[in-house]
C-alpha cells in the first residue's frame, strides 16, 4: 500500500516587504495530526512537492491547546488556530495563508502589535491605585462573573480582526475584541472606577463608531465570545456617556 500523503499549499513570504508566493508540499500522514504537526514535519524535512530542498516554513505557536492565540492563520480560507485544526477534518489540499490583515513577518508568522496597541488605547486593565495594601476589592455578583468570565477568554488571537470587513489597510478600526474588553473591564468592580476613560477611548477615531455590523466576528471567534452583544452594549454605553457629557459637563 502506498504511503498516505497530506497535500499542503502554503502562501509564503521571505521577508516583511517581499512578494508572497505559493509553495506546495506532500508530507507523510500520521493519525491525529494537526496543522502544527504538519508544519513540524516540513521543518524536519524541508522538501517541497517538486522534491526540491527549500527553506522550512516559518510559523508561531505556543500553547498547542487553543489558549494563547499565537498560531492563528488562514486555513482553507478561514482564520483559525493551527493547533486545533485537525488534518482529518480538513479538506485537501490544505491551503495555509498568513492572516494578511496584519503585517506578515515571514511565511505564516504575523505581527499582532496593533492588537496590543488597541488594548493599551482602551486601557484594558484594572489600574493598581497604591503601593500599600488597600484591602480586598468589592465582590462581583455571581451572575455577572459568569458572563464576564466568557469575555475574559479572549486570547488576542486576531481572528475577529481578520474576519471583519471594516478592519483593513484603508481603515483604522481597532477591532471587535478591544470593544469586548472594555465591556469586561467596565464591569469589573474596581475597573469600573475608570469606566469613563475607556468609554472616551472607544469614542475616538477608529473606535466603536467604525463597526458596521457585519457580525462576522462573533461567528469566527474560536472562544465563542459574544462579541456582537458586547459591541451593541458598548454602543448603548458610549451613547449614554456622550449624552451625559453634552448635558451635564
Amino acid at each position: 500500500m502506498a504511503e498516505k500523503l497530506i497535500h499542503l499549499i502554503i502562501t509564503r513570504q521571505d521577508s516583511p516587504d517581499s512578494t508572497p508566493y505559493k509553495e506546495e508540499f506532500r508530507i507523510p500522514y500520521r493519525p491525529g495530526m494537526n496543522v502544527i504537526s504538519a508544519l513540524m514535519e516540513i521543518q524536519r524535512n524541508p522538501v517541497n512537492a517538486q522534491g526540491q530542498k527549500t527553506a522550512p516554513v516559518n510559523w508561531e505557536s505556543n500553547c498547542l491547546e487553543e489558549v494563547c492565540g499565537a498560531c492563528s492563520m488562514v486555513i482553507n480560507g478561514r482564520p483559525r488556530q493551527a493547533c486545533s485544526a485537525l488534518v482529518d477534518k480538513l479538506e485537501q489540499p490544505i491551503r495555509l495563508e498568513p492572516m494578511s490583515t496584519f503585517p506578515v513577518q515571514r511565511d505564516l508568522s504575523i505581527d499582532r502589535s496593533r492588537m496590543f496597541d488597541a488594548l493599551k488605547r482602551v486601557k484594558a486593565w484594572v489600574p493598581i491605585d497604591g503601593t500599600h495594601d488597600l484591602g480586598p476589592g468589592p465582590r462581583m455578583p455571581e451572575v455577572e462573573r459568569q458572563w464576564a468570565y466568557e469575555l475574559s477568554k479572549c486570547m488576542t488571537c486576531g481572528v475577529c480582526l481578520e474576519a471583519c470587513p471594516n478592519v483593513n489597510s484603508k481603515a483604522e478600526f481597532i477591532g471587535p475584541f478591544a470593544i469586548s474588553q472594555v465591556r469586561l473591564f467596565n464591569q469589573h468592580p474596581t475597573g469600573m472606577m475608570n469606566k469613563h476613560e475607556r468609554l472616551e477611548a472607544l469614542m475616538e477615531d477608529g473606535g466603536i463608531g467604525d463597526c458596521g455590523n457585519s457580525q462576522n466576528c462573533v461567528q469566527a471567534c474560536p472562544k465563542g465570545i459574544p462579541l456582537t452583544t458586547s459591541i451593541a452594549h458598548m454602543n448603548k454605553e458610549t451613547v449614554k456617556h456622550a449624552v451625559k457629557k453634552f448635558f451635564f459637563s
Binding site: 483593513n168 467604525d210 462576522n216
Partner: protein, 203 residues
C-alpha cells in the same frame, strides 16, 4: 491615533438615515400611493404639499442637506470596507454587503429621480400625475424605477436593523433576530406600497 469626530459623524449619519430621511421616504411613498385612487387624488395630494409654509426651506433642512450628508459619508463608509462574503457567507455579512450596494444604487436612482422631477419643477414645470405617467411611459424607466424603489426600501429596512444596533437598542442575539423579522416585514410592506404606487402611473 487621533481623537477626531468619527464617532459623532457615524452617529449623525445613522440618525439622519432614519430621521428625517427614512420618515421622508415613508411619507413620499404614501403620498404617491394616492395615485392608486386616480390622477385627481394624486394631484390633490401634490397641491396639499405645495401649501406647506416655507416649503423650500423645509425641503432643504429636512431632505436635501440630510441626504447629501448621509450619501457622501455613506459612500466613504461603503468604500472603506473590504468585502469578504466569499469566505464569510453568513446572513448578516450578506446584509452588510447589500446595505452598501443598495446605498450606491439608491444614490444613482435618487440623483436621476431628482434630475428628472425636482429640477424641472425648479425650472417652472408643474409636477403632476401626467409628469410621472410620461416618465413611466418608457419600459426602461419602469425597470429603473422598480430597481430604484426596491433598492431604497431595502436600504431603509435593513438600515432600521442597523440603527437599532448602533444605538444599543437591540443588544442581545434574540432581540436582534426579532428585529431582523420585523425589518423583513417592513421591507415587504413598504416595497408593496412603493411599487403599487408606481404601477398607478403606468397607463
Amino acid at each position: 491615533m487621533a481623537k477626531g469626530h468619527s464617532f459623532l459623524s457615524h452617529k449623525l449619519h445613522s440618525l439622519l438615515g432614519l430621521f428625517p430621511i427614512g420618515l421622508f421616504l415613508l411619507f413620499h411613498l404614501t403620498a404617491n400611493y394616492q395615485a392608486t385612487h386616480g390622477a385627481e387624488a394624486f394631484n390633490q395630494t401634490v397641491g396639499l404639499i405645495e401649501k406647506v409654509p416655507l416649503l423650500l426651506i423645509v425641503e432643504f433642512v429636512f431632505i436635501y442637506i440630510p441626504i447629501l450628508f448621509h450619501a457622501i459619508y455613506g459612500l466613504y463608509i461603503a468604500f472603506q470596507a473590504k468585502q469578504n462574503v466569499g469566505n464569510f457567507s453568513y446572513f448578516r455579512n450578506q446584509m452588510f454587503l447589500w446595505q452598501r450596494l443598495t446605498g450606491v444604487i439608491t444614490l444613482i436612482f435618487i440623483v436621476w429621480h431628482v434630475w428628472s422631477t425636482r429640477i424641472p419643477k425648479a425650472m417652472g414645470v408643474t409636477v403632476n400625475f401626467d409628469m410621472m405617467a410620461d416618465i413611466l411611459s418608457s419600459p426602461a424607466m419602469i425597470v429603473f424605477y422598480t430597481i430604484g424603489i426596491i433598492s431604497t426600501v431595502f436600504h431603509f429596512s435593513n438600515g432600521i436593523w442597523s440603527f437599532l444596533v448602533h444605538w444599543g437598542i437591540t443588544v442581545g442575539p434574540r432581540s436582534q433576530r426579532i428585529a431582523t423579522y420585523f425589518t423583513m416585514v417592513v421591507f415587504v410592506v413598504v416595497t408593496f406600497i412603493g411599487l403599487r404606487a408606481m404601477s398607478a402611473f403606468i397607463l
